[in-house]
């Protein structure tokens, strides 16, 4: 039964991804020119002379003289074979460039999400159960600060104080001395030492948002009659809260999984640039700026794929958790 459902859902994913790929390809091709023209323009601006015959050769080599539809076809069929194309800027296959950074990105994002959950959950529950108390106001205020201060500013402040107080080196995820070394215990410790800054900064906004969402959802549920029923049975308040309203408020949390997966991979771009993290975020931005189309396009496609998978996972999880979705028929008129 479940397998059949998943199979059906995967079938639906195909047209979704197709439309996404067309959109991505179109948008990337929208600006005037292509990677080579941008490169030539940049070189001329710097007073260098571009080898036009080589540019013409490259264009031909990569099929830029062909109509867009044909290029799209080659790109997509390549993707299907797992070939994400070739980055002009790095002169490397896209897979090699992205692969290196993916691990670091995932480490940062994973800890960020854990941090967000650990902080947001208790605070959200506290704020909802102690609505309009000083604690609620205070925590809301701090959360709002996290939401309102731009991340890059927060990043600069953190870098400064981390350097002054703890002597952490500026930027990057490891001390420069470990940069090109294989992973070792010392390098790992260095990573952990640097990790908390991006985790807190990237997590700050998300945490505040999640606190607000959890608080609002839980406040709604606390008004519900079934919570009164639970207390009328004589359940202690904490237990009643966990079993009923919190369980119901979890639904939004699970549907968030769909958003979380791509954010694990894309990372927070701006913060990553400020902190000069070797994650995938800055890579994507650079690729978009220089119209390095296979790098940008394939990476965006990868993100869309993760989004669709994330939504699928959250749908299945919701159905397993909530009998109303599992058992209730959908009435059509």
């Amino acid at each position: 039964m479940l397998l059949k459902y998943i199979f059906k859902r995967i079938l639906v994913m195909i047209p979704t991804l197709f439309v996404t790929s067309v959109l991505i390809f179109t948008v990337i091709n929208l600006p005037e020119g292509d990677y080579f023209e941008t490169m030539v323009a940049e070189m001329q601006a710097q007073g260098e002379k571009a080898d036009m015959s080589r540019v013409e050769f490259l264009k031909k080599e990569y099929g830029f003289d062909k109509p867009p539809a044909e290029r799209y076809f080659w790109w997509v069929t390549g993707l299907l074979r797992g070939d994400m194309g070739y980055s002009f800027e790095y002169q490397l296959p896209v897979r090699d460039i992205v692969g290196d950074r993916l691990l670091l990105t995932m480490i940062v994002s994973f800890f960020t999400i854990i941090f967000t959950w650990i902080v947001a959950f208790p605070i959200g529950i506290y704020s909802a159960t102690h609505q309009y108390s000083w604690g609620d106001y205070g925590l809301t205020f701090i959360g709002m600060l996290g939401l309102a201060i731009p991340h890059f500013l927060l990043a600069l402040i953190f870098l400064y104080f981390a350097n002054i107080w703890f002597g952490t080196s500026i930027g990057g995820l490891v001390d420069p001395q470990y940069l090109n070394q294989p992973m070792s215990w010392a390098k790992f410790r260095s990573v952990l030492e640097h990790l908390w800054i991006p985790v807190i900064i990237i997590g700050a906004g998300g945490t505040a948002g999640m606190i607000r969402k959890l608080r609002a959802n839980l406040l709604d549920e606390l008004q519900k009659q079934y919570y009164v029923t639970a207390r009328a049975k004589g359940l202690p308040p904490g237990k009643a809260l966990r079993k009923y309203p919190l369980r119901m408020a979890l639904n939004f949390f699970i549907s968030d999984i769909g958003d979380i997966l791509p954010s694990i991979v894309s990372g927070a771009e701006i913060v990553a640039i400020v902190l000069s993290l070797q994650t995938t975020g800055p890579l994507l931005i650079r690729a978009l700026q220089s119209q390095d189309m296979y790098l940008a396009g394939s990476f965006l496609m990868f993100l869309s794929f993760l989004t669709v998978i994330g939504v699928l996972i959250s749908d299945i999880a919701l159905a397993l958790l909530d009998p109303r979705i599992r058992l209730q028929g959908t009435a059509t008129k």
């Binding site: 039964m1 009659q225 119901m248 058992l327």
Partner: protein, 629 residues
């Protein structure tokens, strides 16, 4: 012995810094094993008292004085003052659910939708009487069987949304009574249920009381329920007790003017022709509304006798695609409206009665052209043109809309909270381009007078009005375009008895003054009896009986009509309900109907038999209905 004694109880609420007493020195008692009814309108403080007994007052509220003495019959010497117990302490939690059980008005929202019925009942059991898992399951299944689940082993694993309203309330009862409490608080336990289901649930409560010997505190606004259930009655108004005593005294010798007025304000079956309800508080006097402008041209060549609305053989089926989430989808069709035909004459009020799910709302939507029927014909004849409603398209349909307006059940959600009363009432005029700005404003002011509202209210928003006032706004909106026909879909079922009387009187007056035609939909037979000239009774999507009001109430023929009439509780001690008459599956369960009325898949189709004087009943052709009746 008294289980509960409430002495000079005062409860205050602090909202936005303002302290306000909502219960002002209340005294009453609940004797062991007896039923005490606490009667009052919304806002009278009756629910707040029940919350105080459970120690479940909202955070803004607190007991400011007096005592709530609970004397458990099991430990008869110990008296606990609930008012002094800490709000979330162990003592009060042991009482809650253990010694005092509670059920609520909305059985759907009172049960968690993501836990099974059995899980929720077991939780109550394990909290107060811990037993091994196996034994618990047996106890719970026995209890589920006792409250009327046919297959308790399966019911254990049901979720609340898989049950009907009546079964949900039974599950709530099982949960409240699983620990055998000394006191059951029932807060409007049957208000959300149909009359026949109400009779069953009330019956069950009485049986369980006789078996388990608990006392019941029944909170309700329905004097009919009180007369059938209560040993003692406490009448509360604005947080003060108006009158209390044994049910005999209260009903036979009411002393306090409030109670007398309350008895007079509720419509009942013994009203004389032309007798008016006496509203508890008379609404502000209003001048009679101007009669509807006469049609510009008098009809020629056609008799005036054509009915205003003629519905012929209308059917509507819904297709429910009940795909279990991980399973194969099964498509089932539900015939919501099945071959319905009737006429509405000009200037009359046709009542449409039926229980929830019988198709009456679908029917009103079909007439409104909010839904399109699968087959059938609806003709509308306002004396000028004869329109086939179902074939109208585009501009013609738009031109037809003003002739038919609607008054809705819920006065809160049917008015936009972001529009002033002026904008709400003017909107129909603007949409249909009636007059210029000044004329529209003048019309809106006249409408306010017509429904008895102050013109100064025009710049206010709906939230600043009471339920009755909001319903008046809804009525004014329906009147704005001078419709030929107004469909009233349960217009008073969300209102208190006293306000209900005001609104019903207003509708009656407007009908007389302006010559309006109503299709009046309600599940409340007494209300329909008060309003309607003819009444159609609907069950399972079909009109089973249609008769002039008097005939229907004095000589009903169809078993469904009879069951409905027998299930309505009277506010009269001499005419108590015979609870055992209620059919197990509700009155609309065709299996309990005599053979002459049963739809038969193989046999002849049912048809409407004419009993004379406009009395139609749905039965097998050729069946001797008189004999069956």
């Amino acid at each position: 012995m008294n289980i509960l004694e409430i002495n000079d109880l005062r409860i205050g609420f602090t909202i936005h810094g303002f302290a306000r007493d909502v219960v002002k020195g209340v005294d009453f008692r609940i004797p062991a094993g007896k039923t005490v009814a606490l009667v009052g309108e919304s806002g009278s403080g009756k629910s707040v008292i029940s919350q105080a007994i459970m120690g479940l007052l909202p955070r803004a509220g607190a007991v400011t004085g007096g005592s709530i003495l609970f004397r458990d019959p099991q430990t008869a010497d110990a008296v606990i003052d609930i008012a002094t117990l800490p709000a979330e302490g162990k003592e009060i939690r042991d009482l809650r659910g253990g010694r005092i059980g509670m059920i609520f008005q909305e059985p759907m929202s009172s049960l968690s939708p993501v836990h099974t019925i059995g899980n929720q009942i077991e939780e109550a059991l394990q909290l107060h009487r811990p037993v091994p898992k196996q034994e618990a399951r047996a106890l719970i299944e026995a209890m589920l069987k006792r409250v009327g689940f046919k297959d308790p082993a399966r019911a254990y694993d049901f979720y609340s949304f898989e049950l009907s309203g009546g079964l949900r309330q039974r599950a709530m009862l099982a949960m409240a009574l699983i620990c055998q409490p000394a006191l059951l608080i029932a807060d409007e336990p049957t208000t959300a249920l149909d009359v026949t289901i109400q009779a069953q649930v009330l019956d069950l409560m009485r049986d369980l009381q006789a078996e388990m010997g608990m006392a019941i505190l029944l909170i309700t606004h329905d004097l009919g329920v009180v007369a059938n259930m209560a040993d003692e009655v406490v009448v509360i108004y604005h947080g003060e007790i108006m009158e209390s005593g044994p049910a005999e005294d209260i009903f036979r010798r009411p002393q306090h003017p409030y109670l007398k007025a309350l008895l007079k304000a509720s419509p009942h079956f013994d009203m004389q022709e032309g007798e008016r309800l006496v509203a508890l508080r008379e609404a502000r006097p209003r001048t009679p509304a101007a009669p509807k402008p006469a049609p510009a041209s008098t009809p020629q060549g056609r008799g005036q006798r054509a009915p205003l609305l003629a519905v012929r053989h209308v059917s509507k089926t819904y297709t429910t695609h009940s795909s279990r989430f991980f399973g194969k989808g099964t498509t089932s069709t539900v015939t919501a409206v099945n071959d319905v035909s009737f006429d509405i004459e000009r200037g009359e009020c046709l009542g449409l009665v039926g229980e929830s799910g019988c198709g009456k709302t679908t029917l009103s939507k079909l007439i409104m052209r909010a839904l399109t029927p699968d087959s059938g014909e609806i003709r509308f004849d306002d004396g000028k043109d004869c329109l086939d409603i179902l074939s109208l398209q585009g501009e013609d349909l738009r031109g037809f809309r003003p002739k038919l307006q609607m008054i809705f059940q819920d006065p809160v959600s049917s008015l936009s909270p972001r529009m002033t009363v002026m904008n709400i009432l003017r909107e129909p005029l603007v949409i249909h381009e009636r007059g210029d700005g000044a004329e529209q404003k003048a019309r809106v002011k006249a409408l306010m007078d017509d429904v008895g509202l102050d013109q100064r209210f025009l710049s206010r928003y709906p939230h600043s009005f009471s339920g009755g006032q909001r319903q008046r706004i809804g009525i004014a909106r329906a009147l704005a375009l001078d419709p030929e026909l107004i469909i009233c879909d349960e217009p008073v079922s969300a209102l208190d008895v006293s306000v209900q009387a005001q609104i019903l009187n207003l509708l009656k007056d407007l009908q007389a003054e302006r010559g309006l035609t109503f299709l009046f939909i309600s599940h409340n037979l007494a209300v329909v009896n008060y309003m309607a000239d003819r009444i159609a009774v609907m069950a399972n999507g079909r009109i089973v009986e249609l008769a002039p009001r008097h005939t229907l109430f004095t000589a009903p023929v169809h078993p469904y009509t009879k069951a409905l009439l027998k299930s309505v509780p009277f506010a009269d001690l001499d005419r108590k309900l015979d609870f055992k008459l209620a059919a197990p599956g509700g009155a609309s369960d065709t299996r309990h109907w005599p053979a002459g009325f049963k739809p038969d898949p193989d046999g002849e189709a049912l048809a409407h038999l004419d009993l004379g004087a406009g009395h139609l009943v749905l039965a097998k052709p050729g069946a001797d209905v008189r004999e069956l009746a």
